[in-house]
């Protein structure tokens, strides 16, 4: 006889391990285990059968793969945790003895990342392990960016040290600078939660959310220790990603940080990008200079260049660098572009090639000079405009430093972004009402000529449509067109607000709508003629049919015949009644159109019923498993379609209202 297998010794029971067991095995505390899991990206698993896996009577909630935990056992961080634990013990022992100076000395050695934001350990080996290639890291950047941008906007508290926030902010700005220089931002969306951005970095789409610049409310029970652990990891990750990204476009990392500028609220402008080495720097500046001046004599040009370089020291160094970087980019593009293959001789197959779209994202706003009014969100606008090629952005001085100009009356400004309503009261046209805060000598409704005034949404819509849109719809104070998400991909049969209603509604809906319309018309006519006639006939018929949904074919046919008969009878009766009362039955007979439509609808319904019957029959032939699956799919589809239907009906109503309003 074969050896009797013991329960819980092999198979699933061995593959899984509960959290308590894992913690015991690793000999660390639960918070340390949590940290380790977060950093190493280890998550619980759902066993196929909980009963087989759990050895105890009480139901365990969390299971991990045993292999995962074994893999954690070799983690160097574990040693760090243990050292920390030992240190904590020493401190507590010293305190217990009343040995304060000793405790203080030990305390100095204990790096407390949750308080100082500066750990004693490094996480780069974990990052390398989790993301063996750079692309893997880019793929997982969504959560990282959302988290860091959120933390960059959080107020510092005891649980979130100010240093951590400063570092988050710094990393985010560095990343934004990369996007600006490489022009890899693709789409952006103003949602109620914040601003979504989508960038394409080395072929990977990265989507993240940046909250609006307000103080974030911390509600509910939020464990900032967990968030802190994530942020610690993400900070390291983004640091290395930034390094790689910067070096990929030939920039030095970390960029120079100007504390004084940052204190004045320069934000993005507080960082100064630099080329990797001096040689390239010279080259690029040369390139810029040649692009600017078309100098005939290279020697003279070089001298001039040097002078120019000396002259502009820090003030617009960053700009120059940006330009330089861009110059580099252009050069690269010239070499990287796909050559067009033209068939040399007839007879060969035509192979499709990807083509560049006509709109280069780096040139969208290249020829514009923007001025941001003080009520607009400067940070997001600056970022998005710069990322789409705008070089000159000015803003009101209270929005912070780093602007191209703070003078609203600068004649080079082509676009001004305004987000304030037109003041109705101050229509004196004399420019009497002076604005003390901005110190600009312009009336509330006055405008500089030769300048386009738009609302901020214009920028986003331009970016998403990859073209400069007409500013008429976005004029200040105007009711804006709806702002649509660029991330929704239209699927067949789903409601799409951009497509006119007629193209997407189903036949039945359209008919319903027409019938409604016709009825309304008829009603209005009736009201005119003041003939008190019963219009519910059609409805009644509908109801009847709906009731008798589940009937057999022949019976149905009979039904219809009966229906027709009934109608005729009713008509006759009405005629008779009319004769008696001395009125005409005109109103009923007048709308043959309506009747035709009703007939059509009826036919449609009949068809639908037949289809349903066929479906029922076909379903009968499926196996039970497949039938369940089918029904579930149908359920979800139906839910979606009802939602879409609701949206369509709402829109129809709105359109009707609008039409009525116009009329």
């Amino acid at each position: 006889m074969a050896k009797i297998k013991k329960k819980g010794q092999s198979g699933q029971a061995k593959n899984y391990i509960t959290r308590t067991q894992a913690v015991k095995k690793l000999q660390i505390s639960l918070p340390d285990f949590r940290k380790l899991c977060i950093w190493k990206g280890i998550y619980p698993r759902e066993p196929r059968s909980r009963k087989k896996v759990s050895k105890s009577a009480t139901a365990s909630t969390t299971f991990y793969y045993t292999k995962d935990i074994q893999y954690l056992q070799h983690e160097p961080l574990l040693q760090k945790f243990r050292e920390q634990k030992v240190l904590e013990k020493k401190i507590s022992r010293a305190l217990g003895r009343g040995d304060v100076s000793d405790a203080a000395r030990l305390e100095r050695n204990a790096g407390r990342p949750d308080q100082t934001g500066k750990p004693r350990y490094t996480l780069h080996h974990v990052i390398r392990e989790r993301y063996p290639t750079f692309i893997d890291a880019i793929r997982d950047l969504d959560d990282c960016l959302s988290m860091l941008f959120l933390f960059a906007n959080l107020p510092s508290t005891t649980s979130v040290p100010a240093k951590m926030i400063a570092r988050c902010e710094r990393l985010c700005h560095e990343f934004q600078h990369y996007l600006i220089t490489s022009h890899s931002l693709r789409k952006s969306f103003l949602s109620i939660k914040g601003i979504y951005y989508q960038a394409n970095i080395q072929g990977e789409d990265v989507l993240w959310l940046v909250p609006y610049k307000f103080n974030q409310r911390v509600v509910g029970d939020i464990d900032f220790r967990i968030m802190g652990t994530f942020v610690e990891f993400y900070m390291t990750l983004l640091g290395f990603v930034n390094y790689r990204l910067y070096s990929s476009i030939g920039l030095k990392y970390p960029p120079k940080f100007d504390q004084t500028k940052d204190d004045k609220g320069a934000e993005l402008a507080a960082l100064t990008l630099e080329g990797v080495n001096l040689a390239t720097n010279d080259e690029t500046t040369k390139a810029i200079a040649s692009g600017e001046g078309h100098g005939p004599d290279p020697k003279v040009q070089a001298g001039v260049d040097k002078l120019v370089k000396k002259l502009r020291t820090e003030s617009d160094g960053d700009k120059a660098d940006e330009e330089m970087a861009e110059g580099e980019d252009e050069e690269e593009k010239a070499t990287d572009a796909i050559d067009k293959f033209e068939p040399a001789a007839p007879g060969g197959d035509v192979l499709p090639q990807p083509t560049y779209t006509g709109n280069d994202p780096s040139k969208l706003f290249a020829n514009c000079t923007f001025f941001l009014s003080r009520e607009t969100p400067r940070q997001s606008l600056e970022f998005i405009l710069r990322a789409f090629g705008c070089k000159r952005i000015g803003w009101d001085p209270i929005l912070g430093e780093g602007s191209f100009t703070t003078d609203e009356s600068d004649p080079s400004i082509t676009h001004q972004i305004v987000d304030r309503p037109i003041i109705q009261a101050a229509t004196t046209e004399q420019g009497d009402g002076e604005d003390n805060q901005t110190a600009q000598k312009l009336g509330p409704n006055q405008r500089y000529p030769g300048r386009i005034y738009v609302q901020p949404q214009w920028v986003w819509d331009c970016v998403n449509d990859e073209e400069l849109k007409g500013p008429e719809l976005y004029a200040p104070g105007a009711a804006l067109p709806p702002h649509l998400s660029p991330f929704v991909k239209p699927t067949q049969g789903q409601y799409d607000p951009t497509v006119p209603l007629e193209e997407q509604e189903t036949e039945g809906e359209a008919l319903d709508a027409e019938i409604e319309d016709a009825k309304d018309e008829a009603e209005s006519e009736e009201e005119d003629s003041e003939v008190d006639n019963d219009m519910d006939v059609a409805d009644d018929n509908d109801d009847d049919e709906e009731d008798s949904d589940a009937e057999e074919d022949e019976e149905e046919e009979d039904d219809e015949e009966e229906d027709e008969d009934e109608e005729e009878v009713l008509l006759r009766q009405r005629e008779l009644e009319a004769e008696i009362s001395g009125k005409t039955v005109k109103s009923k007979q007048v709308d043959p159109k309506l009747k035709a439509k009703l007939d059509k609808k009826k036919a449609l319904e009949r068809k639908k019923k037949e289809e349903a019957e066929d479906l029922e029959r076909a379903k009968g032939m499926l196996s039970k498993k497949k039938r369940k699956l089918f029904e579930q799919m149908q359920y979800t589809n139906k839910k979606k379609s009802t939602e879409d239907m609701k949206l369509r009906s709402k829109r129809r109503k709105l359109e009707k209202e609008k039409a009525a309003g116009k009329a």
Partner: protein, 799 residues
């Protein structure tokens, strides 16, 4: 100083008691114990002070004899020689003088003291005074001055407690110690003017007398206060006396030469130094910096960045790793300015607000803001982020295969409705006549010359014009199929119902088999279309066996054992009606099945134990029982249409036997609880099984022993199933719910394809009587028509 006399007195008393105790107890131990116990009490310090006083007073008194001071101190209590006596005398005098100077001292006790002196004065030889002291009792503490009794026994309580009393405490004997008289005002005035020597202004706590200290005592106090050594003459830091080093030793202690190591640099030290040097070089030891500076430097130090993916190599993805799903991108409804149709109506908003936050389908309501500046911060953003974090590290990830396919593609590809036709849809003829249930129906397969039915084509053979039915009333009737006219009838039995009627499937004869009770009758019914030649041929077929039997070629049954079947003529009455042969088996026959050649037929009598299945050979009038033992109750049997195979359905399984090799070929397990009926497709590879537990099962014999399709469309038991045998892809079943269901069942020519089965029609019409609905069904051999037998006494033709 009031203590003094009392003390002396007490001492005297002690001595008295000592002597007494000597007498009584014989030793002074007890006394010593007593004294020790007294010692423990609190007045010792006052004693000492008193002693000091007396000493100092004594020394004061003998100012001229400074050198003898030490001696005097030593011989305080026990002066043993003359000098000591003198001293003592002086001392006592001095004491007296002192006491006199003291204010308010009662002089009385002094006289008492004199009376109780512890020495006697005698005249010595010279005539001088000689003090002879009492023998000292050498017990423990006998010379202990500490043991002198306290003056006041009130203990360590403030004297103020006695302020209102004339006394200030009690002595050792319990006598009141009266308050020393305080001087009157003049005296006190005098005191203030003339400060007495040693006056401190303090009051002795114990006695209430003013506390006076001598100059020496004051000096002592001062020295103690200043932290000096109390003894004035003591020098704590005497000069060292260099006893040994002051002299140069001329001779060395050891003659050994100086070792070499004294002149070599230490290797160990060099090692230590190198260790430090290395540490410094490696930067492990840093020059000291104040901690603040070091902290600042650490803060300034940037995180080291480098190209982490310099030598990246794509690793194969771990199959067990499931990357976290990304959050879905925002849709239209998330816009700050969405199209208006996305905004919720009032009802929707209310409903959303009413539901619990956990139950909400969407976690937010779309909102519209006219301009960007009006958009507020999203309240739960931090919480949402936190929840995402929790999901990332706490949520178990499972790979779910989401079928992103059109659900309609799951549906089987059905033939178009036009292709399914023809199938029976309506009742054409109702055959009434039977009393009680019609048990069985069969349409004749015999082809008739198209004489009276089809006039157009003489060659055309018309089949299926005659319908035979058997009923509970024991009759077999033959009907004109299309018209429903009864053409022939015979009563086989008065009490047993006719369970089965089946036509012989060949076209050369017109023979019907029917069972009633234990008998199986073979008959040739008269029918209008039966030509005399056909009739004769039929009769010949039936009669052939009799000759065979009489020839004696039939193997005789074992003696004493009942034969499996008795072949006989049924009697003249029946013979006249056309019933020509009767076969009697052991128990009631329920099912008859013909072999396709028409020479054999099998009967099943479920109650018949081992002989329940019998195979009869018509040409030989022979009955055989093929199975010695059967597993379960035999329900029905069927011959394979092409091969010599024989299917026997028991309650649970269908067994397939090879009749030539006489062996079991296969066991088909439909999974039904109680099989009611069985039929085989004309191709021979497919089987349908009906069961009393409401299932209709299609078996593909090549594929599996398990059903290929299970159809459960009947709410009641299935009674009969039947394939169309004439080339149409149809089959039907009948049920106790009174309906027939017609299925389209196309068996493809290709072996690999699975058959297409489509439910086509439900035929309702039969009434349910005693919970029995439709009992039997038979298809027309060529047309898509079928006849059903119902419990309501009718048979119906559906076309």
């Amino acid at each position: 100083m009031k203590s003094k006399p009392v003390e002396k007195k007490r001492k005297a008393r002690d001595e008295e008691s000592d002597s007494e105790s000597d007498d009584e107890l014989g030793n002074g131990l007890f006394d010593g114990v007593l004294e020790a116990s007294e010692d423990e009490e609190d007045y010792i310090p006052s004693d000492e002070i008193d002693d000091g006083d007396s000493e100092s007073e004594a020394s004061e008194g003998s100012e001229d004899t400074e050198e003898e001071d030490d001696d005097a101190l030593l011989s305080d209590d026990i002066p043993s020689d003359v000098e000591g006596d003198d001293e003592m005398g002086k001392l006592s005098k001095g004491a007296e003088e002192l006491e006199i100077t003291e204010p308010g001292v009662d002089p009385k006790p002094k006289h008492q003291e004199e009376e109780h002196r512890n020495y006697r004065i005698e005249k010595d030889a010279n005539g001088g005074e000689r003090y002879i002291y009492d023998e000292i009792d050498p017990v423990y503490d006998s010379d202990d001055s500490d043991a002198q009794g306290p003056v006041n026994t009130i203990g360590d309580i403030p004297l103020s407690f006695y302020d209102s009393y004339p006394h200030i405490g009690y002595d050792i004997n319990g006598k009141k110690i009266m308050r020393p008289a305080t001087g009157d005002a003049l005296q006190s005035l005098l005191d203030t003017i003339e400060v007495p020597k040693g006056w401190t202004g303090l009051t002795d706590v114990n006695t209430g007398n003013p506390l006076n200290l001598t100059q020496e005592e004051l000096e002592l106090v001062r020295r103690v206060q200043h932290g000096l050594v109390p003894d004035e003459g003591y020098d704590p830091y005497p000069d060292t006396v260099e006893w040994f080093t002051s002299k140069q030793e001329t001779m060395p202690l050891s003659a050994a030469p100086e070792p070499k190591r004294r002149f070599l640099p230490s290797k160990n030290e060099a090692k230590q130094v190198m260790k430090l040097v290395r540490a410094i070089r490696e930067g492990r030891i840093l020059p000291y910096k104040p901690p603040e500076e070091r902290e600042r430097e650490e803060e300034e130090k940037e995180e080291v960045q480098f190209d982490l993916w310099q030598d990246e190599e794509p690793a194969a993805p771990n199959p067990m790793h499931i990357p976290a799903p990304k959050l879905p991108p925002p849709g239209y409804e998330m816009s700050y300015n969405p199209p208006e149709e996305y905004l919720p109506t009032k009802e929707e908003r209310e409903e959303w607000e009413k539901t619990d936050p956990e139950d909400r389908e969407k976690e937010f309501l779309p909102q519209k803001y006219n301009s960007l500046r009006k958009v507020p911060a999203w309240g739960t953003l931090v919480k949402e982020r936190f929840e995402r974090c929790m999901d990332l590290y706490l949520a178990p990830r499972v790979r779910k295969n989401r079928l992103n396919i059109d659900p309609n593609s799951l549906l089987p590809k059905l033939p178009s409705p036009a292709e399914l036709k023809p199938f029976p849809t309506v009742v054409q003829t109702i055959f009434r006549g039977h009393e009680g249930t019609v048990r069985s129906v069969a349409i004749d397969p015999v082809s008739f010359p198209c004489s009276n039915i089809c006039m157009t084509n003489a060659d055309h053979q018309q089949t299926g014009v005659a319908l035979a039915t058997g009923g509970s009333d024991g009759t077999v009737r033959v009907w004109e199929l299309l018209t429903g006219r009864q053409v022939w009838s015979v009563r086989l039995s008065s009490e047993d119902p006719v369970y089965a009627v089946r036509w012989r499937p060949t076209k050369d004869a017109f023979i019907l088999a029917a069972s009633a009770g234990e008998d199986v009758f073979l008959m040739v019914p008269t029918h209008s279309s039966v030509t005399p030649t056909l009739d004769q041929a039929s009769r010949d077929v039936l009669a052939a066996g009799f000759g065979y039997a009489t020839n004696g070629q039939q193997p005789a049954a074992a003696p004493g054992k009942e034969p499996a079947g008795k072949w006989a003529r049924p009697g003249t009455k029946l013979e006249d009606a056309g019933v020509l042969v009767r076969v009697t088996v052991r128990s009631a026959v329920k099912v008859i099945t013909w072999h396709r050649r028409g020479d054999h037929f099998a009967t099943v009598s479920p109650e018949g134990q081992r002989s329940s299945v019998a195979i009869h050979t018509l040409s030989k009038h022979l009955t055989q029982i093929p199975f010695r033992k059967l597993h379960g109750l035999a329900q029905t049997v069927v011959f394979h249409p092409l091969k010599p195979l024989f299917f026997v359905a028991t309650m649970r399984t269908v067994r397939c036997y090879d009749l030539q090799k006489v062996e079991l070929v296969k066991i088909v397990q439909p999974g039904a609880k109680w099989i009611s009926s069985l039929d085989i497709h004309s191709g021979g590879d497919h089987l349908i099984v009906g069961s009393y537990d409401r299932r209709l099962l299609w078996h593909d014999l090549d594929l599996s022993n398990r059903p290929h399709k299970t159809m459960r469309f009947h709410p009641k038991a299935i009674r009969a199933v039947r394939y169309h045998k004439g080339g149409l892809p149809l089959f039907a079943d009948t049920s106790d719910d009174g309906t027939l269901q017609i299925f389209y069942g196309k068996v493809p020519n290709d072996q690999l394809e699975s058959p297409t089965i489509v439910p086509v029609k439900q035929l309702k019409g039969h009434k349910v009587v005693n919970q029995v609905g439709v009992v039997d069904i038979d298809w027309h051999p060529r047309e898509p028509w079928c006849v059903s037998a119902g419990a309501d006494g009718t048979a119906r033709l559906w076309m």
